[in-house]
């Protein structure tokens, strides 16, 4: 089988209900090894719940999930060994140094790692002896990413990674995600920002009310829409306000 087209994640007819409300209504999709796969959708669409079921954090009410050949329901602990998870709003215990946080997360896998290297990788090498509570929002995101990668996971999950970040930090994070993908890690992410999905994702699934209503590459999705005769009201300017902002304030990271 062609390595590029190998399936690493398979979701079949997945269901989840909370009380009377079915939040995930039998969704199915496959993710290829090494791709960046996005799940887009409004709040309450079921994105986070879907992620949590794949991450073995929530019980599954119906259907199947296989991660790199491992059935999540049958062997959740084996799945935890090969995935990395970036939570929506990462936080750390006070009075813990960055080095200790990396050491601690590596230890959860029984591993000992070169802490400096991992912190350098996310541009936090100089802060190795700082306490985590003194970091800015973007720095905390990057620390959390470093902590999620200590065991070389095969699939990396990011739940709305750029919510609340300034444009510079967002762009920096995009670069970081591309860098992770280039190492061969499969990346799964959810986002509210369409520009983010367009830039980062190889394919996106659009979810609403617990169902996947479209799944394709961003380009194809746009093509399909245009083919339906869609036209934006006006498209004169070749730049938007964010381009202005970045032009004025620069791309350099502020933190």
């Amino acid at each position: 089988m062609d390595k590029d087209n190998e399936t690493i994640l398979e979701v079949k007819n997945l269901r989840k209900r909370y009380g009377d409300k079915e939040v995930v209504k039998g969704i199915s999709f496959e993710v290829k090894r090494g791709e960046v796969f996005g799940i887009l959708g409004p709040n309450g669409a079921g994105k986070t719940t879907t992620f949590e079921m794949i991450e073995a954090m929530r019980s599954i009410d119906g259907g199947e999930i296989t991660v790199d050949g491992i059935d999540v329901q049958k062997d959740p602990w084996a799945v935890r060994r090969i995935i990395g998870v970036q939570p929506q709003s990462p936080s750390f215990q006070d009075k813990q140094k960055l080095s200790e946080i990396i050491e601690m997360f590596a230890a959860t896998y029984g591993e000992r790692v070169n802490v400096q290297e991992f912190l350098d990788d996310v541009n936090l090498g100089e802060k190795i002896n700082d306490f985590a509570e003194n970091l800015s929002g973007g720095q905390r995101q990057r620390l959390s990413i470093a902590a999620a990668l200590v065991h070389n996971p095969r699939v990396f999950f990011l739940d709305e990674p750029t919510t609340g970040l300034d444009p510079q930090a967002r762009r920096n994070l995009w670069k970081l995600i591309e860098h992770i993908r280039d190492k061969g890690v499969t990346v799964m992410l959810t986002t509210h920002y369409m520009d983010e999905a367009e830039i980062l994702c190889d394919r996106v699934a659009i979810m609403d009310r617990g169902q996947i209503i479209q799944l394709d590459t961003p380009k194809n999705l746009i093509k399909q829409l245009l083919a339906k005769g869609f036209k934006k009201e006006q498209k004169v300017e070749q730049a938007n306000l964010e381009d202005v902002f970045i032009d004025l304030t620069g791309k350099a990271l502020r933190d």
């Binding site: 073995a56 936080s91 750390f92 006070d94 009075k95 140094k97 601690m104 896998y109 029984g110 000992r112």
Partner: protein, 408 residues
């Protein structure tokens, strides 16, 4: 004994500092050496526990609030309770002394009285009217008056009659005081006049030491400190960790509940040993606590006690989703133990039926065990009933703790 204890404490502190420094080096800028050979799965699991233990302990010593509640707070209690209890062991009288005699004997007697432990002489009182007023306000128990000419030497020996004045309310202490003074005079008399006294009484101190009220209070205070570490620690920390999603994040890694519990047990035990050593040092050096037991056995027992009590904290903190759930539940469990297990007053003061019931509370064998080991010189084999009860509780609380634990 003091010396050994202080040296032991100093050595312990140095060891802790060195461990912390070494830990810093390993995690700091210097390259950590990669493990020489791959660890077995079990070694990896224990390595996880080791790192979490180390980091938990280190975090505790950086956190001023935790340090205050873990070490200083029990120490303050020790000084408050020690101060209350230490005086009650001996009888003493507050007296006013009015010396109207100028004989050498009277002067000498006044000096002796001042030095005596039984009498606390209030020197500000110089007139009888002042003394009388103070007596009515119970500031002094009695007034001793040495009249003019007291102690004048007549036929080879000093003579005279001292008067003891006391109010009706203080009749008991007044009479006791009179008897005490009478006894002292008889002793002096005997030196001058050799008389055969047909009937005498002599008090003999037994070599067995009885427990002072401070001994009881000390064991109770250690119990209080163990409750603080074992229950208040986790119930404050866990809901916060859940609120911030820190435990949830950990749950996405392969760490197991038992590894997390075990590392918490180890770090709390280390912190507990340090905190309790500080209390021992204070009790021995300030309140003259006589430790007759074996320190190693005491330390072992304290660690077991912390493990057991911590199980309660882990069960409550691990179950509760937030502070609102944790606080009332912990109060329901902690307060009965504090009042009924002998923390603040000894259980032998309770009616017998209550003693029977309260002997089964988890904290009771802890406090009894500490007292038996520390001040009664018993050994671990002698306190098998306490250890057995603790083992049963340990089993119960940890089964509950594992079952109800929630990562979020």
């Amino acid at each position: 004994m003091h010396g050994i204890l202080i040296i032991a404490a100093a050595v312990a502190l140095v060891v802790v500092r060195v461990l912390i420094k070494r830990g810093r080096k390993a995690s700091g800028a210097k390259q950590p050496s990669a493990p020489k050979r791959p660890l077995s799965p079990w070694q990896k699991k224990l390595y996880t526990v080791l790192v979490f233990t180390k980091l938990n302990t280190r975090r505790f010593f950086r956190d001023r609030l935790a340090l205050f509640f873990g070490i200083l707070f029990p120490l303050i209690f020790l000084f408050v309770f020690g101060g209350i209890n230490s005086g009650s062991g001996n009888i003493s009288f507050n007296v006013a002394l009015l010396n109207r005699s100028d004989t050498a004997f009277a002067k000498q007697f006044a000096q002796q009285l001042d030095k005596s432990k039984t009498f606390k002489v209030n020197k500000t009182i110089t007139s009888f009217s002042d003394a009388k007023e103070r007596m009515t306000r119970s500031q002094v128990d009695a007034t001793i008056v040495l009249p003019q000419g007291f102690g004048e030497v007549k036929s080879g020996a000093p003579s005279g009659q001292a008067q003891v004045y006391y109010t009706q309310n203080d009749a008991t202490s007044g009479q006791t005081l009179t008897t005490v003074l009478d006894g002292e005079f008889k002793g002096i008399n005997n030196k001058f006049v050799q008389a055969q006294v047909p009937l005498t009484v002599k008090g003999v101190t037994l070599s067995n030491k009885s427990l002072t009220s401070f001994d009881y209070a000390f064991a109770g205070l250690l119990g209080f400190s163990i409750i603080g570490l074992g229950i208040f620690g986790p119930i404050n920390v866990f809901p916060e960790l859940k609120k911030q999603g820190i435990l949830r994040r950990l749950h996405t890694t392969p760490i197991r509940v038992w590894q997390y519990f075990l590392s918490t047990m180890f770090s709390q035990a280390m912190i507990g040993l340090i905190s309790i050593s500080v209390m021992f040092i204070a009790a021995i050096s300030v309140f003259h606590l006589k430790v007759v037991g074996n320190y190693f056995e005491i330390a072992l027992f304290v660690v077991l006690s912390i493990f057991m009590i911590l199980g309660i904290g882990l069960a409550i903190g691990g179950w509760a989703k937030n502070e609102r759930q944790a606080a009332p539940l912990s109060n329901i469990i902690v307060f009965p133990m504090l009042f009924l297990s002998g923390t603040f007053f000894p259980r032998f003061l309770m009616p017998e039926w209550l003693q029977k019931i309260t002997s089964f509370l988890p904290l009771t064998p802890v406090i009894d065990g500490i007292r038996l080991l520390t001040t009664e010189g018993k050994h671990l084999v002698d306190i098998a009933p306490q250890l057995g009860l603790m083992a049963i509780w340990m089993l119960v609380v940890y089964i509950i703790a594992f079952r109800v634990f929630r990562w979020e």
